[in-house]
């Protein structure tokens, strides 16, 4: 990343950390928490869905892993801050299983398999109350004792900063190039010596880990989780939509997507109460028909086209001059 861009990014995150000085109400801090949480989740999904081009619609599996680890492990004497770490490990284990089976499938089969795995986990959580509290749900201890909403907000900002940093590093590295090759054409990727199966799994591990941390934070803030909330298709969809709307395969995309989606969602919740699914649906259709590259992606393409048009113009002028 260029020097100036690094400073801008660091500065922006510093500003975000200072926001609680201005925004005080619990409600607003929770909204901002959601914005940053989904920005982080979107960035995590983006590694697999955007850069590697693998449409996972089952990321709730990893989110739920983090949330349930946070809920269950402290009962066994695990310290509060170790629980999310173990949640990450659990999510990575799920990723190994899910990826191992699903990555062998191409196209829509892959997406369906990811949905199936997440749904199996949700149903297991619902039907095994002795382990997970079942449908009724389970309590989650809070990571923070004081200034709860502000602390969770700051944690979400930090998670987003980490996810952003990981994304930027990946996009410039050999690993990132390999992911993009896999996205464009797996046969070509194989032919240049890329171990596509292993590379996809590595991306999924990274993605699952960050997602699990998000799940742990979410559960810990709201103090109570149910399977239909943290292991649901809705969560998987929301994560994917955030990244796709903002621009899959870009670093800024998921952040922008989360800001747009979550603010639209909040606005409509207050005005239209129950219409948030309708908003998601409309946004998806809009993205597919008008903005297939997402907001940031479309802007990038437009800028690139302007650049090559400007680069061609002087040459054309020179040719015209020499011809006349």
């Amino acid at each position: 990343m260029t020097r100036s861009k690094s400073w801008i990014a660091a500065g922006s995150f510093a500003v975000c950390l200072l926001i609680p000085l201005v925004v005080r109400t619990d409600y607003n801090l929770q909204v901002l928490f959601r914005v940053f949480l989904f920005a982080a989740l979107g960035l995590a999904w983006n590694l697999v869905g955007g850069y590697a081009g693998q449409l996972s619609l089952g990321h709730a599996a990893y989110f739920g892993a983090g949330a349930y680890a946070m809920a269950l492990l402290p009962h066994f004497g695990v310290s509060l801050w170790l629980a999310p770490v173990l949640g990450i490990i659990l999510a990575v284990a799920f990723a190994a299983l899910i990826g191992g089976v699903s990555f062998r499938l191409r196209g829509p089969y892959f997406a369906l398999a990811t949905i199936a795995f997440a749904e199996v986990l949700r149903l297991l959580a619902k039907n095994l109350p002795s382990v997970t509290g079942g449908d009724v749900g389970i309590q989650v201890p809070s990571l923070f004792a004081h200034a709860i909403n502000r602390s969770f907000y700051l944690a979400a900002v930090v998670l987003t900063a980490i996810a952003f940093g990981v994304t930027v590093w990946v996009s410039r590295s050999k690993f990132g190039y390999y992911l993009m090759a896999i996205r464009e054409d797996e046969d070509t990727a194989l032919s240049v010596g890329i171990n596509t199966a292993r590379t996809k799994l590595e991306a999924l591990f990274l993605s699952a880990g960050i997602t699990a941390m998000g799940g742990a934070l979410y559960g810990s803030l709201f103090l109570f989780i149910v399977p239909d909330q943290v292991l649901s298709l809705d969560i998987s969809n929301e994560i994917a939509i955030v990244a796709m709307l903002g621009g899959a395969g870009t670093a800024l995309g998921p952040i922008l997507g989360s800001i747009v989606l979550e603010s639209a969602s909040e606005t409509f919740k207050n005005v239209f109460h129950e219409a948030h699914l309708l908003i998601y649906g409309l946004l998806l259709v809009v993205v597919v028909i008008f903005l297939p590259e997402g907001i940031v992606g479309t802007v990038n393409t437009w800028l690139a086209r302007r650049r090559s048009a400007l680069a061609a113009a002087p040459k054309q002028r020179a040719q015209r001059n020499s011809a006349s």
Partner: protein
């Protein structure tokens, strides 16, 4: 020890025998061409050597190692590079980035890969388009991009499937001259070609003729072009008498 050796290699797709008991050997420093009408099995043979397919019968050896069951990425790591008949550029990346993918096989540094890719593009006279997206490049440039990307993996054997197809005669001959220089780099090559015989005559050390999956002739270009079996395969039995 031959660089590449196939022993009685066969591959079937359902009822269709695509490759039928082919045995051949390529030596170091050789440029060989597989020649044959459409459907003769050239691409299947390339896919077998490159690891995208595995033979039903027979073995494939590269530098003495049995690679019959090796997957495509392993074959590349062992030193076999390839281009595809239908070019597969990675459209959303630039020409340079496409080639860098090949270079990453031997380095983890983005800058080193970029330098190596730049060098190879210079050799192929493509520096001027290095930073343009691969999407929308003309066919002649895309063919060179395919070769550049394969060369970046530092192969000791490169498979060039129909590498001059779709090019005008002058483009094809220009590319052929470049390919002739591969020997300088210590790279052996197997080309696959249907009908652009000028290229074959110009740079091939040896020609192998495939017909319906079977190897029917082998020799220098001059020898092969006169063999009755080859003429019959290409033009039909009626023309066989012209050689006698």
């Amino acid at each position: 020890m031959a660089l590449l050796e196939l022993r009685r290699t066969s591959k079937k797709f359902g009822g269709l025998v695509a490759v039928n008991g082919v045995s051949l050997a390529i030596e170091r420093g050789e440029v060989a061409f597989l020649v044959g009408p459409n459907g003769a099995g050239k691409t299947t043979l390339f896919n077998l050597i490159a690891g995208m397919l595995h033979p039903d019968q027979g073995e494939i050896f590269f530098e003495g190692r049995d690679i019959s069951r090796a997957r495509a990425d392993r074959a590349t790591k062992l030193g076999i590079g390839r281009t595809f008949q239908l070019v597969k550029p990675l459209r959303n990346l630039t020409v340079l980035e496409n080639v860098m993918l090949g270079a990453f096989l031997h380095t983890s540094s983005t800058s080193a890969a970029a330098r190596e890719a730049g060098r190879i593009l210079e050799f192929l006279q493509m520096e001027d388009v290095a930073h343009l997206p691969a999407l929308g490049m003309p066919q002649a440039k895309l063919k060179r991009l395919e070769i550049a990307r394969a060369l970046a993996t530092r192969p000791r054997l490169i498979l060039l499937d129909e590498v001059v197809a779709g090019l005008s005669t002058s483009e094809a001959l220009a590319l052929a001259d470049l390919l002739a220089r591969l020997r300088e780099w210590g790279i052996s090559a197997i080309g696959g070609v249907e009908h652009v015989m000028q290229v074959v005559m110009r740079i091939a050390d040896r020609v192998l003729v495939l017909d319906h999956g079977t190897l029917i002739a082998e020799g220098t270009p001059e020898e092969v072009v006169q063999m009755p079996s080859v003429i019959e395969a290409y033009l039909g039995p009626k023309y066989k008498e012209f050689t006698q």
